[in-house]
Amino acid sequence: MAETGRILVIDDSITLLSKVKERLAKDGYEILTTTNAVANTALLKGCDLVIIDFHMPGYDGAQVLQALKKAAQQMGNEALMYLHTTDQAEAAGYKKHGFDGAFAMKGNFDALSKQVQAAFRMIKLRKMQKGG
């Protein structure tokens, strides 16, 4: 069944962005990608989920996240921001960095597909709780 929702994926690897886009687009999501989130915060508009690589050369992951959160707040966007990592220990510390959750197993696109589905369930449930 095709999913719906808009996702912004931020990573310094164009190859990975391309593969993530290909896989998640196949699931039915609208995928936006960027290697420079700070300069492209406008992409956040209408996004339900943001998937962020924490370790991008030339960027401080925490600062990128803060910049995105600030931009999202100004737009009135309540997108969930998920850490994308291969490191389980780093994933476990997602709250410390201010993320809403973490997608471990970076590079495993089937796993990512299921993780994103779960994140969208979370988004829907939170909307339900708010009476949306």
């Binding site: 998920y82 389980q88 994933a91 476990a92 997602y94 959750g101 973490a102 997608f103 471990a104 299921k114 993780q115 994103v116 779960a118 994140a119 369930r121 979370m122 829907k124 449930l125 939170r126 339900m128 709780q129």
Partner: protein
Amino acid sequence: MTESKTAAAAPPASDQSALDRFVQGRLHPDFLNGGTDVYRRAKTAVVFMMFGGTFAYFFTFLNIQFKNYGAAVVEGLIATLVMVLIWQFRHFRSLVLVGNVEAAVTSAVLLTAAAIAGGIDGAALRLMPVVPMLALLLAGVRWAWVWMAINSLFVLALFLIDKHGTVLPESFRATEPMYYANVAEWWRAWHGLTPLPAEGFKPEKWRELKMSDSIGGMAMSLGMASIFEALKDQALRMVEQKNQELAQLFDNMRQAIFTFGKDFCVTGQYSGQAKKVFRRDELDGAHVLELLYPNAPDYDPDFMAFQEWLKVVFGTAAEGWDDMAAMVPAERVLNEFTDDEIFLSVEMRPILKRGRIDRVMVLASDETEKVKLAREAAAREAEFNKEMAAMKKLLSGGAQLFIAFMQSASDRLMAFETDLGPAPRMVNASEVEVLFQHAHTVKGEAKAFELVDLEDTCHELEEKLSDLREPATQQGGASTEEVFGDIVQGIANARAHIAKVRQQFIDASPLGEAVLQQVTVNVNDVGSLEDEVRELIASETDSPRARRIQKIAERLASRPFGEASGRLSDGVPAWAAQLEKRANFIVDGKEVLVPPQLARVLPGCLTHMVRNCIAHGIEIPEKREELGKDPVGAIKLTCLPGSAGPNIIIEDDGAGLNTVRLREKAIEMGMAFQPGREWELIFASGMSTAETVDDISGRGVGMAAVKNDLEGAGYEIDVHSIAGKGTIFFIRHKAATKRTIPPPAFTI
């Protein structure tokens, strides 16, 4: 007669109350002569015995409903004893008969009805004491009004208790509606009795009984604690029996089934499979997250989403369940990435109470075996695809080399077997080296062709032979006895591997079996040879030898049918997918030789016809399922050798040709046709029944061109179609007589 004497002995009516007059009219004179106190005591005793008898009957039948037959018998005897005692007062006999019989019948009817309905209805029980009262009134027992008034007050009290719980402690009201178990607890607490034993007493199970609050209320009001206790035991037995039935049902379903409540902990019955799947001896009180997400890290998005789900689900109204159900994780993997991985497909169902979700039932099916099989199948398919790809690579890179390898490997294995000998024997060092060389050579060649299984088998053979090398060298000889069996088996395994890859090679080749007989020659040389021979035959038409040479030249220039059909194997699924259809493609007779004239036009003709089969014949999967067909259509090409040339059949199991549309188009275009053979119109130029033109079909020129091409090669084409069954094309040489050609018949 006796009654009239008694009446005569009674005091004058004016000095007596109405009740005295009534009693005097009915009691035996000897009883009346016993004195006033005795009379009053007797009257009171009779009235209470009436109560006792009535309720004894009631509980008798209640016991019958609970299948507690022992208690039913005892209480029945009590009722009978009471009745017998009352019977001693002969003027009360009518009262006894009317009262007890009515009570018994009413109890039986009401309780039987309640049992059939699946529970004891409170309203029916409330009415029960009223019915015998009415019967007594009808029988002329006037003081039954008093009895009825008392009972009415009692019934009213029960209603008030039910409705407001005003006379009950807060704890009791908090669990409204009143349940039998609550009454029991309250009763004991109020009377300072020993608390009910925890063992075997599970208040929540009482609720499943649909027991009416009124039973407890009645028992409490009448102070019939002992009967109540008996009822409790009976009810518990019934609960236990029902629970056993439920557990049996769960176990029969072969699913891990449990329910959890608002505390997210398992409550009530669960299936035996649940203990097995979740690797626990008991599930009572286990948290649902512990069961479904053991060892899940906090950041696991699925785990987080389910936690969120739990927060929402119990506040959801019944009509909102479908949305909630859609957000349940459909599958769970327990012990992921370990040897003990368990794959579960998960469903959840609501258990409602007053329109809200009160508990959730989890039904988890263990799909581990299924998933493992699917994984194995996928791995096998991947391996097969890899092997086929390797074969195709071989075919494109020089099939002769691989054919030569298969032959040489088979020859070498035969030599290996011969050199090994028919039975264990002593071998010297040079003999061991020869044997070793056989295994090593086949291994090396297998490696070159990426035939891993064969390579591994030969490696094992080498290992076995290595054991013989040292003693054969140092001691001048070694016995093959210990390794003989293994080596023979190894050779057999190697042969089996070669047979397997040989078959794969044939399957992968568009030429089929014919690929094994192919040699590489220069196509221009073959063409020239055929031309030269034809010219030669023209001048020597009567020479049998010349005709034989012509046949050989023709065969040399012929191409296997598989060469013409091969390119379609990959095309069919792709073309079908373009039109959201699915089709299997089958080719029979890949090795049948097609003469050069036909071989030149056949690939184009087949391509066109097969694409037409997909576009116009094969239905979309949903339509095929509606028609009771396999959702995947079939297109089959068959090439049969014939005396004049090959006979080629192209068939599909689709919708068949639209004869109505063909007829309409023919009339529209002013074309003549033979009724009943409208199919032949498809070969007319400009004929297409397709509503739209696409890149697969629809321009109406294809089949006319196909016919022209085939006729140019000396062949003719015919078509038959059956609506709903499919279409079949038949290509044959013009010189072939109709009698020698098998009638077209669907084979798919």
